[in-house]
Symmetry: C2
């Protein structure tokens, strides 16, 4: 019971060859002309001896580890851990396991992790990387193992992506506020070249421009949370005519909410507020805040489907053009029109 039983043990126990055993294990009994009688005996022995295949040996032989490497900033961020769970479950159905790591946005750590993934012979990579790390992952693209990136688009990288449609989502959010009678809508973002942030900004500006209203954008040079809160405070105090605010990222929403700490919650109290990225917190906050929710399940599903296609496709899939999938986010409305300021 203690020592592991191998195919050889089964073969000896039944009095046959390891080949025969291997064939029935792999469901090739018919195909490989193993008689029903022998197959039955083998299956019985497998049961009795409690045989469990050694996946390491199998991987070595087949060249497929059935492991997917998952790489993000920080696995403990809700979006990432939620996605990790979804991907893990979907991957398990197809016999894959996930190993994960957090880069902490550190270049050295990232190369190190990718190196380990290669040594472990992962079959595929799933990653969300910050700009500046294009080169580290770039070397992998077009290689043996397929790579699918998500969440962040890196303009320099011609890879397969599964993204949230940032442009569309912010446009919809902005339109939502307009439809509900808000007149002076501000957009608070960070000063960056990150593609997804630019897309979000564009979603806002285009809708505002089309409406003939005035753009009110605060671009924060992000240092830390305290500082951001101060800038937001100053911005809102100065522009007292604003009646709605869109925060372009969840941490910005948080920084905004931290105004309550200094007793400045009034600055947001009477306004329409939309947060990009939904989080549990928002269910409890007063006044209620509408949020753009990333479609985690859909993202996971698309990533896995893409990977499976590439893993199955072999050479054909490898030369295929990169795919970029844009998924529409959901607007979780918790606050309706301006006048009533009602809560749904």
């Amino acid at each position: 019971m203690q020592q592991k039983v191998s195919i050889k043990d089964i073969a000896n126990h039944v009095g046959t060859s390891i080949t025969a055993v291997s064939f029935v294990i792999n469901g090739k009994a018919k195909e490989k002309y193993i008689s029903d009688k022998l197959a039955a005996k083998i299956r019985k022995a497998i049961d009795e001896l409690g045989y469990q295949p050694n996946l390491l040996a199998r991987s070595l032989r087949t060249g497929k580890s059935n492991i997917i490497g998952f790489l993000v900033d920080d696995i403990s961020k809700p979006f990432f851990s939620g996605l990790a769970r979804a991907i893990d479950e979907k991957a398990a159905v197809h016999g894959y396991k996930i190993i994960f790591s957090s880069t902490g946005n550190d270049r050295e750590r990232t190369t190190e992790i990718l190196n380990i993934y290669q040594e472990r012979r992962v079959d595929a990579y799933v990653a969300a990387l910050a700009e500046g790390l294009e080169n580290e992952i770039g070397g992998l693209i077009g290689g043996e193992a397929p790579v699918v990136l998500f969440d962040r688009y890196l303009p320099g990288l011609d890879a397969d992506y599964v993204l949230t449609d940032n442009f569309w989502s912010t446009a919809a959010a902005t339109q939502h506020l307009l439809d509900n009678g808000f007149e002076n809508i501000a957009f608070i973002t960070i000063d960056t070249l990150q593609q997804q942030m630019l897309d979000r900004l564009r979603g806002y500006t285009e809708v505002i421009d089309r409406s003939g209203k005035k753009q009110e954008v605060l671009k924060i040079k992000y240092q830390d949370s305290e500082h951001a809160t101060q800038l937001i405070k100053a911005f809102l105090q100065k522009n007292s005519h604003l009646d709605a605010v869109i925060f372009a990222a969840n941490y910005l929403t948080m920084d905004g909410l931290k105004l309550s700490r200094t007793g400045d919650e009034g600055l947001l109290q009477s306004k329409g507020v939309i947060s990009f990225d939904d989080f549990e917190l928002l269910e409890f906050i007063r006044p209620s805040i509408t949020a753009v929710e990333q479609p985690i399940e859909a993202i996971a599903e698309n990533i896995i489907q893409l990977l499976l296609k590439k893993l199955a496709g072999g050479a054909t899939a490898k030369t295929a053009k990169p795919v970029v999938i844009n998924l529409q986010a959901k607007l979780n409305v918790r606050q309706s029109s301006k006048p009533q300021n009602a809560q749904s």
Copy 2:
């Protein structure tokens, strides 16, 4: 560049045996009498050809996969994903990788996952399991691979545990409220036999009893969030003399906070509130809520240390008595004494 280079390739390139190459790779050059000259040539070739060891092959040969299986309810829960990150980082230092799965508290899924872990020949298990799953993991204890459980103590299972000291932590929380002048402190928990919940309750009752005050306990037969909120509401309305409440779990705190949805936030507004388990949300909530924070880093560190000891120890460690480590939680005070109702 495309095809993987093996030890054999290095050996051929240098004109030596694979044994020699293997020795220098494993840093046994001196010990195994490889001349500095040859070692240097080998190292050069390794660099030039970009050799990366095949960890699958190594694992097969050595019998050590250097993989740790991590098993929890739901990896997307903040406590678990936080711990996952911490463990991953600490394990990486020692050359271990983590694979994880979410059981969803499902028995079949749990056995299935454990089976997969065994097939993958994980070197060790880290798990937080709900009661009822004792048997599934029980079979592993005392086997080849060490098992460390955390978060939940399962009375039937004689295993190694790393836990938060629930008794001590609730006692401290209760004492904190007493010290700050609260007189009528309620304890809201669920109706269960879960050891950690019983410990928390005991922490409360013992301190209350010693103080000569009256116990006010609500045990909820948990069905769903809505229902729990209703029960809490009724309880607080009926016992209007209460001036403080301790929620024994984070989801109970949430259910309590949901009173604001029906406009009943007044029921908590004027009271002292402590939540077991801290979460981001609590930084924003008014009135501010003090919370017991689980020491994630310490838990991770203790788990890894325990595992390493057992992995290194071999037979001696296997026969050793199970270790139960109780770590003290931190009380994050966000609210001080009763009179002022001030916010820190």
